[in-house]
Symmetry: C2
Subunit: 430 residues, 2 copies
């Protein structure tokens, strides 16, 4: 491990340029931490000529990113191309096969192929590091892999997507609709032109899948995530949440239960004035129950140049020091199969909202269907009268079986007194 | 690094027994992370015979802790004796000199002798690790040393003493006096029989000193901490804080300024509904400004068996993997001298409370003395009238020189209309 760590950088967008910048600006202090220098020796990007403020005099340029995996003067490859297949996957696989260390921000690739890639890394004595893949500004991968290891983890919960949290906090502050706030977020650059991966929960699911594996030592199981996005959330539900003493957040939740591991991505009610509930704007946060070591909570910037570049550089320093263990905290061959909690074991308290005609008997009908499914009501709000017109009936249930509540809502929705599909949102511990 | 890591454990109180328990209960998963087994081979404690639920059959017992430093079958010494001199210091020094790795929870020792010990460790190729010394349940040492390293740190703020935060939140909730709440905390075991080190700010200063070194790469400078405890805090000040939209917290603060590094331990006003302000009960928390990587915030359990044992075990796993760099993030010989910010450069906004006779001219007199020192008032509360008797006059100033405010208060206190020493509390950013 003498001599410098020679880095091949694939992808020179805003994050890649940030990584190059940090390695150059802080070369001395980073080499103190790493025990040796870290230098970019080769780069691959779509467009070499674009001005990025980087001096390419000592750096080779490869048109084909895959060439980085073959270069003799590259010890570690930083993959910032993205995508769960194609060139990114090929580059990571070929680099590992060539015994090169890999640092990546590619959550989709790892959520889909993490176990196989971890095995490949170990077989070839290479590091596979991905702090930048989950909330760059929060060192949660390192914390789960290296710090909160004494007593095991029973649950992880996170606000893992800054775009969704920005939209929900804006909807709350302005009482505007999801569509309006999304449009504004797109105008401001807080949301992508195609926001599906964010608002549909897919991005959160990728990150949750990795947190689950790190927390429980299981094979990443993206397909095992039950996923609901935020596009159906209304300002009315956010306001009612406030009246009950809750805030509405898109959470990724992984829990170890008696029957397996439950992975959920869903808008959820979180009790106000708790750490997760208080996360504002585009911040990310993760909480974990770490047994006797206590609950812990991290908050920071999730995405963007600075947080992501910072995470990549921290991983490179670990690689340079030779300080890396197995990708998911235990040998890939020892990762436990993902035992999914059966859907009918899923339980929670729920927030329910019905838009019902203000006519006699409607509460009786709703109550009867809930009682039939053994769903009992903890508290309720019904305000304002509008005889013959639709009013909101809002309630929070005691803990109930998820499938039972779904069945009850289906029966209630069939009533001619109910004018739109009922809304159902889970309550989550903070 | 083949074979097991053999640990000598000095101090078998609640934390030491916790470490032994975790190493035994989670042996397999820890060895996966460490790449090899970790086994306690020798123990030193005051009383061998006390029942601790540990099987000593395979473990040697030393009456004299210093003997652990000499044993051939010990690779790493865990120091849980405590105290900045005496046996703890001798054990750490002798262990490092013998090339043994050291893991310690001893903040006082490191705050006082950290630079020398770090140098000793490096000279002998040994690790010096101390995650357990600062908020055990929060991996802040690792975060500062290994994660938030891309852009440098400009400020660190922490609620570093659970006893003080418990007392302050109890005073707020019950409106009882400091003395009453302290007595209750002692009864409940949340405060020591001699609580001086906690409530006087000394414990926070020890931890802050280490955070400062980790954040700024400077020699630990305990003497450079300006320290004020919480024993003068009144329920009235806590209530007024609430009216202004703040909460009162004992903070450790380290800031890099144009003139040097400022280290403060003091009760401070923190804006309500921000992460630090929301820290309840005996929890600990640390926030840091990490440049382009963004602000970040950690919260968790600070002390007690679980959090501390968890931190010690995480350090042992790093030692077993060979994953350790220099103790304070850069070679001990490269630690920068601690350049203290000159006291007269210290600036802040301040909360001020005067107990004044309700007679004409008192406000004029207070205002004149503040104006003389160029201290201007941002907002003020004066409520209730009691002609001829004492009332509270409470205000928040704009940013002002600390020494100027102190001079103004001295002049004001000399007035015969002021009936007790004025109260002065700094405002802190969240």
């Amino acid at each position: 491990m003498s001599g410098e760590l020679r880095v091949g950088l694939a992808g020179l967008g805003t994050v890649g340029a940030g990584v190059a910048q940090v390695l150059s600006d802080h070369a001395r202090s980073l080499s103190w931490r790493a025990g040796r220098a870290i230098a970019i020796t080769a780069i691959s990007a779509r467009d070499k000529t674009k001005e990025r403020g980087i001096d390419f005099a000592r750096i080779s340029f490869e048109k084909d990113a895959l060439a980085l995996a073959e270069r003799k003067d590259v010890d570690a490859v930083v993959e910032l191309i993205g995508g769960e297949e194609g060139i990114a996957r090929a580059l990571v696989e070929q680099s590992l096969r060539a015994g090169k260390h890999v640092v990546t921000a590619n959550k989709a690739l790892l959520a889909r192929h993490g176990a196989g890639l971890a095995e490949l890394a170990e077989r070839h004595g290479a590091a596979l590091k991905f702090e930048a893949a989950i909330c760059g500004g929060i060192p949660i991968v390192k914390a789960l892999r290296e710090s909160l290891i004494g007593y095991g983890i029973s649950a992880v919960r996170g606000i893992l997507n800054g775009t969704c949290n920005f939209i929900l906090t804006q909807m709350e502050a302005t009482r505007r609709s999801f569509a309006e706030v999304l449009a504004e977020a797109q105008r401001l650059g807080y949301a992508e032109a195609d926001p599906t991966l964010d608002i549909g929960g897919g991005d959160t699911a990728h990150k949750l899948t990795l947190l689950t594996s790190l927390a429980f030592g299981t094979v990443p199981d993206l397909e095992g995530v039950a996923m609901t996005g935020i596009d159906k959330v209304t300002p009315a539900d956010i306001a009612f949440a406030g009246e009950f003493g809750y805030r509405l957040k898109l959470l990724g939740v992984a829990r170890r239960t008696a029957n397996g591991i439950e992975q959920l991505v869903h808008p959820a009610m979180v009790r106000a004035r708790t750490p997760l509930a208080d996360v504002e704007s585009s911040f990310n946060a993760v909480s974990a129950d770490a047994g006797e070591a206590g609950p812990f909570f991290f908050q920071g910037r999730g995405a963007g140049r600075g947080p992501t570049a910072s995470a990549v550089v921290a991983d490179l320093v670990d690689v340079a020091r030779g300080a890396f263990g197995p990708a998911f905290g235990r040998p890939a061959t020892e990762l436990a199969p993902a035992r999914r909690e059966p859907p009918d074991a899923r339980k929670s308290a729920y927030y329910l909202r019905f838009q019902a005609l203000d006519v006699p008997g409607v509460m009786a009908e709703i109550s009867r269907h809930l009682a039939n499914e053994l769903v009992s009501i903890e508290s309720m709000i019904q305000r304002g009268r509008a005889p013959g017109e639709a009013v909101a009936i809002v309630m929070i249930t005691h803990e109930a079986q998820h499938v039972a509540v779904v069945r009850a809502l289906k029966a209630i929705a069939a009533s001619d007194k109910i004018v739109e599909a009922p809304c159902m949102i889970a309550m989550e511990a903070a």
